[in-house]
Amino acid sequence: MDAILFLLFAAIAVVCAINLVLQSHPISSALSLVGVMGSLAVLYLLLGGEFIAMAQLIVYAGAIMVLFIFVIMLLNAGTELKTKRHLWGMYAGVPLLLALVGVVGYIVHDVLPASGAVVFGSFQHGNPEDIGKNLFVNYLLPFEVTSVLILVAIVGAIVLARKEVD
């Protein structure tokens, strides 16, 4: 049952990703990305990461992608034009990327040939309580730093995007 769920949602994720790359209008790409994030959330659940799955849906799919779509609508981005220069990039880049996948896949298979199967429910520490404990005990400093980071990002975004005051 776990395997079928994995295969199903993995397929959805890959198809949406390919769609993101191949679509010409940014809006279509954004919606595909939402699809990817959704299927990834399910996979996180399979891996026992409940908190992360929810955070993914709320933060990533719910906030960041909405921001993307707002900006696309604001900028009135149209379809991308196809030019001839595309093609040499394809010829050079596609083999490169296939090589990257091949290498990584090979390594993974080398290192983890027949590692344990992922059984839904065998990982129990992904609940908010355990994550909260780990976060505020072991990773307190990075936590504080990231809050400063968010503050800086807010200020930066406001400064960059405001209207020029004459």
Partner: protein, 619 residues
């Protein structure tokens, strides 16, 4: 005994005059300069009498050690001063004649610019010469050697605004340098073979060397020392700087190029007699160089028209006599001649200076004449010098020259005969100069006047010494150091040399007083020889063509353009050019396209992953 005071007093004079002379008045400057030399002379007298030199003492050297200069492995060189009888003679000459010349110079340089600078240099010269003479090892001698060379350069080029003067100074220094190179090599060899540069140690070891089968390096040392001496004492082939050195003021010519500096080479060989006595070959070379130079320079002196040049070639010739004496083993005769030569040659130069001063700067013999009534004191003193140098008994030149010629005859008779002919020529050209100057009608346009007392008093003192100095029995004084040879039964050699001297005077009298048209006729009859002699055998031109011009051209093309401009500049500029070129190539990677950067990142990460996987393992 405080030997260090002897050179330090002139050094103090140099410092005072050099630093403050610009603000001091002329009497103060002259008092400092001459006074320091006088004090040095008095201190010499006090030291020598304290050591018993005047009463038969001072058989061995008296040394004072000041501090250790070099201590390197087995080589230990200290700053030591030593006095023995040879040093005593040289000290008396240097400080005594030096003092007289200082007094003379006060009057002579009165009208010249750079008064304090002149006396500062003169005092510096005295300092270095005294260090040279007092030094107890070869290194200190070399310090003094180089120092007097420096002062000679400074003083020859005293009128530094004239190109001929600065050229002459350069020539003197550079030619000396060639000799110094030989001297340095000799010093290195001495340090290697004797293990020390100290005179005492070196000569003690040298005495133990076998005489007949002395190793080749002894001869090498002697020949290299000779090279140094030919540079400093103006022998063939390095004499060419001395006639040009007449560009300096006349007191400089008298002090440096007659009485003291040029005798440094003679002193050095006399000092190294222990080494030279072990190489008969080197002594032969010394004698041959000496007698050849004496003859050669005398022939040139026959035809010169500048009064100072005549005396310059005379100096070269007399130095040749001294080398002849050293080469035949009569070291004390050579030193004796140093002393008498100091007297009469200094007198000749100072007298010539007096004549030039009287004529307002004119040095050409063809513009002189009939001056004996106008400048009588100068005339009288110069006549004393003339008879002294001609070797007329009982004056000083006769005693020393006779000693030399006797030793020459015992060594090799042909040297004696060449020496006699040279004596004849010496008497001839000196009296030619004197007769042309003082007899006949005055051919110039100036108003000759006698020199002031401050100038003729030293002349008078030197004249007295020239006449009576022969009775200071230097050979006997130096006997503990240089044993006297036995007298051979060759009395006739003495008479022949006297006859040569008197004959020269007579011939000069004939040519220039009785029949003034005769010289012209003879010169025309032997025109080619006359031209050769008049142009100094074209030696300077020969040196220019073979040595000087190739050196300048080689330096210009090879070193300047080749090495410096091409190689060094090329390397430095090349580094800059290469950096620019590499940057020019690398900047093409900055295409400005973000996607190309990303592509490079991906390619790089693939490479890194591959490397990690294949070599490091993915752990």
């Amino acid at each position: 005994m405080q030997l260090w005071l002897i050179p330090i007093l002139p050094l103090i004079g140099f410092l005072l005059n050099g630093l403050f002379g610009r603000k001091l008045s002329k009497p103060v400057v002259s008092a400092i300069a001459a006074g320091s030399v006088l004090l040095s002379f008095l201190w010499v007298l006090k030291t020598l009498s304290g050591l018993g030199a005047f009463s038969g003492g001072l058989d061995s050297a008296y040394t004072e050690h000041y501090y250790t200069w070099i201590q390197s492995g087995a080589l230990n060189i200290g700053v030591d001063f030593a006095i023995d009888r040879l040093t005593a003679v040289m000290l008396m000459i240097v400080t005594g004649v030096g003092f007289l010349i200082h007094v003379y110079a006060v009057g002579y340089m009165d009208h010249e610019g750079g008064f304090y600078r002149f006396f500062a240099y003169l005092n510096l010269f005295m300092f270095f010469m005294l260090v040279l003479v007092l030094g107890a090892n070869y290194l200190l001698l070399f310090v003094g050697w180089e120092g007097v060379g420096l002062c000679s350069y400074l003083l020859i080029g005293f009128y530094f605004l004239e190109k001929y003067a600065t050229d002459a100074g350069n020539k003197a220094f550079i030619v000396n340098r060639i000799g110094d190179f030989g001297f340095s090599l000799a010093v290195f060899l001495i340090a290697i073979h004797f293990g020390s540069l100290d005179f005492g140690k070196v000569f003690a070891q040298a005495k133990d060397l076998p005489v007949e089968s002395a190793p080749g390096w002894v001869t090498a040392i002697c020949l290299l020392l000779l090279v140094g001496a030919t540079g400093k004492s103006a022998q063939i082939p390095l004499y060419v700087w001395l006639p040009d050195a007449m560009a300096g003021p006349t007191p400089v010519s008298a002090l440096i190029h007659a009485a003291t500096m040029v005798t440094a080479g003679v002193y050095m060989i006399a000092r190294s007699s222990s080494i030279f006595l072990h190489s008969a070959f080197a002594l032969d070379i010394v004698a041959i160089v000496g007698v050849t130079t004496a003859f050669f320079a005398a022939t040139i002196g026959l035809a010169q028209n500048d009064i100072k040049k005549v005396f310059a070639y005379s100096t070269v010739s007399q130095l040749g006599y001294m080398f002849l004496a050293l080469g035949t083993g009569a070291f004390s005769a050579g030193i004796f001649h140093v002393m008498t030569h100091a007297f009469f040659k200094a007198l000749l130069f100072l007298g010539a200076g007096s004549v030039i001063h009287a004529l307002g700067g004119d040095q050409d013999l063809r513009n002189m004449g009939g001056l004996r009534t106008k400048i009588p004191i100068t005339f009288a003193t110069l006549m004393c010098a003339g008879v002294a140098i001609a070797g007329v008994p009982p004056f000083s030149g006769y005693h020393s020259k006779d000693a030399i010629l006797s030793a020459a005859y015992q060594h090799a008779p042909w040297m004696y005969w060449v020496g006699v002919i040279t004596a004849f020529m010496t008497a001839f050209y000196v009296f030619r100069a004197l007769f042309l100057c003082f007899f006949g009608e005055y051919r110039g346009h100036h108003h000759p006047h006698e020199s002031p007392a401050i100038m003729w008093i030293p002349l008078a003192v030197l004249a007295a010494l020239s006449l009576g100095g022969g009775y200071i029995n230097i050979p006997k004084f130096l006997e503990p150091m240089f044993p006297l040879a036995e007298e051979g039964g060759n009395e006739w050699t003495v008479y022949v040399s006297i006859a040569a001297g008197v004959g020269g005077i007579a011939l000069a009298f004939l040519f220039y007083v009785v029949a003034p048209s005769l010289p012209e006729a003879i010169a025309n009859a032997f025109r080619p020889i006359y031209t050769l002699i008049y142009n100094k055998y074209f030696v300077d031109e020969f040196y220019d063509a073979t040595v000087v011009n190739p050196a300048i051209d080689g330096s210009r093309t090879l070193l300047w353009r080749g090495a410096d401009a091409t190689v060094i500049d090329g390397a430095v500029n090349g580094i800059g050019k290469t950096a620019r070129a590499v940057g020019g190539v690398l900047k093409l990677a900055q295409s400005g396209y973000i996607r190309s950067y990303a592509a490079w990142v991906v390619a790089g990460s693939i490479a890194v992953i591959l490397v990690m996987a294949l070599w490091g393992g993915a752990r």
